[in-house]
């Protein structure tokens, strides 16, 4: 089917891009000022272990060989050991990745859906109070500085009102309690997720709203809308069945284009709310000079962004038959 061919093509593109990133990172780490060895080898290691690691990573060999070792290590899942945690990087990443995906995906999907819905309403009530209210709301929330918004939300809802916990993904007692069932744990996580989700949501839904609004206004001028009216269809049907599906397409594109921006926001949110995700790991790893962890976190985030792009593009191809056929 056409769609599978499209996905396959894009996967190849992604593979190429990722390869380039991998290589650039390799070069950066080797060529940056300072001793590259110190970046790979934990300074607290014993000399024997250090020797072993150096030969494992091929740091004593010429740079061409190092590159081969690097690739081999990467594709066999050997990302080294974190200086800070003393654990293999892959274990840490494995733990953190689902948390990021949970928060990030929920936020993007929620803000896209709400943004499209409200944008449609705003376009329909153009010029009225609802529209003004929604547009200004979207504009303001969209331009607020994310970390600051997060801090304000924590201040008001967690600190002052004590409705939500200030940090973390799950309460310690729930996490450690052997009797706590899945549902309890799930609800607890949800409880912790409200504020970070709200932060990400507020920052993103505005732009989708504004795009949907102007897209609807444009779409309503199209000829096929005139046809729909001439057919004697109800306004509601025309709006929702004929205009909205066409108008939503630019929003999908926009989600794709702003994915890099969204991931920035995701990392910031995780850091503020101490949400144990990869974004936060990256930030912490960088400030602690934990090179193996930092490097791998970055690569993983790159993969997440690339794959998200693919998902969005596939979604667009699915929604727009002109691409599929």
């Amino acid at each position: 089917m056409e769609l599978w061919k499209y996905i396959a093509r894009r996967l190849i593109q992604i593979a190429i891009i990722f390869f380039v990133i991998l290589t650039v990172l390799f070069l950066l780490f080797r060529l940056a000022p300072g001793d590259p060895v110190s970046r790979m080898v934990d300074p607290d290691m014993t000399p024997e272990d250090a020797e072993l690691l150096i030969s494992q990573l091929g740091l004593d060999k010429p740079i061409g060989m190092q590159y081969i070792y690097y690739l081999k290590n990467f594709f066999t899942g050997n990302f080294g050991e974190s200086f800070h945690y003393g654990q293999p990087v892959i274990e840490i990443i494995w733990e953190r990745l689902p948390n990021t995906i949970l928060l990030f995906t929920t936020a993007i999907i929620l803000s896209a859906l709400v943004g499209v819905f409200l944008g449609k309403i705003a376009s329909w009530r153009k010029g009225e109070t609802t529209d003004t209210f929604l547009t200004i709301g979207a504009l303001v929330t969209h331009t607020v500085f994310l970390p600051w918004l997060g801090l304000i939300l924590i201040w008001i809802f967690a600190y002052k009102l004590d409705w939500f916990p200030i940090t973390g993904m799950i309460s310690e007692d729930v996490y450690l309690d052997p009797d706590a069932g899945i549902l309890t744990k799930f609800l607890d996580v949800l409880h912790h997720m409200v504020l970070p989700l709200a932060t990400l949501f507020l920052i993103h839904f505005g732009s989708y709203l504004l795009i949907m609004r102007s897209s609807m206004l444009e779409t309503l001028k199209e000829d096929y809308i005139l046809t729909a009216r001439a057919k004697g269809l109800e306004e509601k049907v025309i709006r929702n069945h004929h205009a909205a599906p066409n108008a939503a397409l630019p929003v999908v594109t926009s989600v794709g284009l702003s994915l890099a921006f969204s991931i920035n926001g995701g990392a910031l949110t995780e850091t503020i709310f101490t949400w144990p995700g990869i974004g936060r790991e990256l930030v912490m790893a960088v400030s602690q000079n934990d090179y193996p962890l930092a490097q791998t976190s970055f690569l993983l985030i790159a993969i997440v962004v690339l794959l998200s792009n693919l998902v969005v593009d596939t979604l667009y191809a699915y929604l727009d038959p002109r691409i599929r056929y």
Binding site: V140, L146, W155, N264
Partner: protein, 306 residues
């Protein structure tokens, strides 16, 4: 005699266009608000030079009030209070305005220069050069700028503010280049380009003499959007602790509030920098939207018939 005539001929259409654009711009409420806010911020930036002149105590980075050693709420002496070290918050805020403009405009300007050049080259040269450049643009566009700067900070140590500006510019040009490329492609077909080619103009000359002037208004429009993203990225970096430690930016101020645990105790410290970052973003955005209407006649019509 002839030369001056030519010059005035060249100038008047430009001035006429500017006047026309200004007339349209003035009608746009959002644009006016945005411009007003920006003027206020610009004034703040200019005023940032004043406090240290009055009294070295108001030096944003180092000026510590000898009487105060902790964070205090607003008073007559310190209109916005002091931070945890006893430094005046207002002077920090003013200095932050200066930094915001500096970072925003420089990064935006650089990314416009890079983006426009690449966009024109890609559109004009076509084929291999075009594909190569656009693939490069695609790759860069996928990268989350903030995180890239983080990785670079890890490798190269603490970053200087100008390095940050440069990196931001290097990662924000793809958006501009796409638009410029599209514009160049449509311009390429126009007869006046053909005429220049026939007259024997070299490619360089055609690009810079003929295409660039027509492409510049669009480039400047996109500059407003670049400014906002540059300011936000710098602020986020400073907030996380990776900014230039010798410059006071609003993001840096937020970092201090956060890291010193004054987040809940000192609203006079928490609120101003965040409000400023948000407002300046908003005002540039409104400016950009209003300029969009000036440059794109289609958007104007919506206001007419609606």
């Amino acid at each position: 005699m002839e030369k001056s005539n030519k010059k005035s001929l060249n100038r008047s259409p430009l001035i006429a266009r500017f006047r026309e654009g200004w007339a349209i711009y003035r009608q746009n409420l959002l644009g006016k608000i945005g411009l007003t806010l920006l003027v206020i911020f610009a004034l703040m930036a200019i005023c940032s030079f004043i406090p240290p002149l009055i009294d070295p105590m108001y030096q944003p980075m180092t000026g510590v009030d000898p009487d105060i050693a902790k964070s205090t709420s607003p008073s007559l002496k310190h209109w916005l209070g002091t931070d945890f070290m006893g430094r005046d918050i207002l002077s920090q805020l003013l200095a932050g305005a200066r930094v915001a403009f500096m970072v925003g405009v420089s990064a935006a300007f650089m990314s416009i220069v890079i983006g426009t050049t690449i966009g024109m080259l890609a559109g004009y040269m076509g084929k291999f050069v075009d594909t190569l450049l656009m693939r490069l643009a695609d790759m860069i566009m996928v990268m989350p700028t903030l995180l890239v700067v983080l990785i670079l900070a890890a490798l190269f140590g603490q970053l200087n503010i100008w390095t940050i500006v440069l990196i931001i510019a290097l990662f924000r040009w793809p958006g501009v280049s796409r638009v410029i490329r599209a514009q160049t492609l449509s311009l390429k077909q126009r007869p006046f380009i053909e005429a220049a080619k026939v007259a024997g103009a070299s490619h360089m000359r055609i690009i810079f003499r003929h295409i660039m002037p027509n492409v510049l208004p669009l480039a400047f429009l996109y500059m407003t959007f670049r400014v906002t993203s540059a300011i936000i990225i710098e602020a986020a970096l400073a907030f996380l602790g990776f900014g230039d430690p010798s410059t006071v930016s609003w993001g840096m101020m937020l970092q201090w509030v956060w890291k010193t645990g004054h987040m809940f105790k000192a609203p006079y410290w928490l609120l101003p920098p965040g409000i400023c970052i948000s407002l300046i973003t908003l005002s540039f955005y409104m400016l950009g939207r209003a300029m969009d209407e000036v440059l794109d006649p289609r958007l104007r019509k919506e206001a007419e018939t609606g």
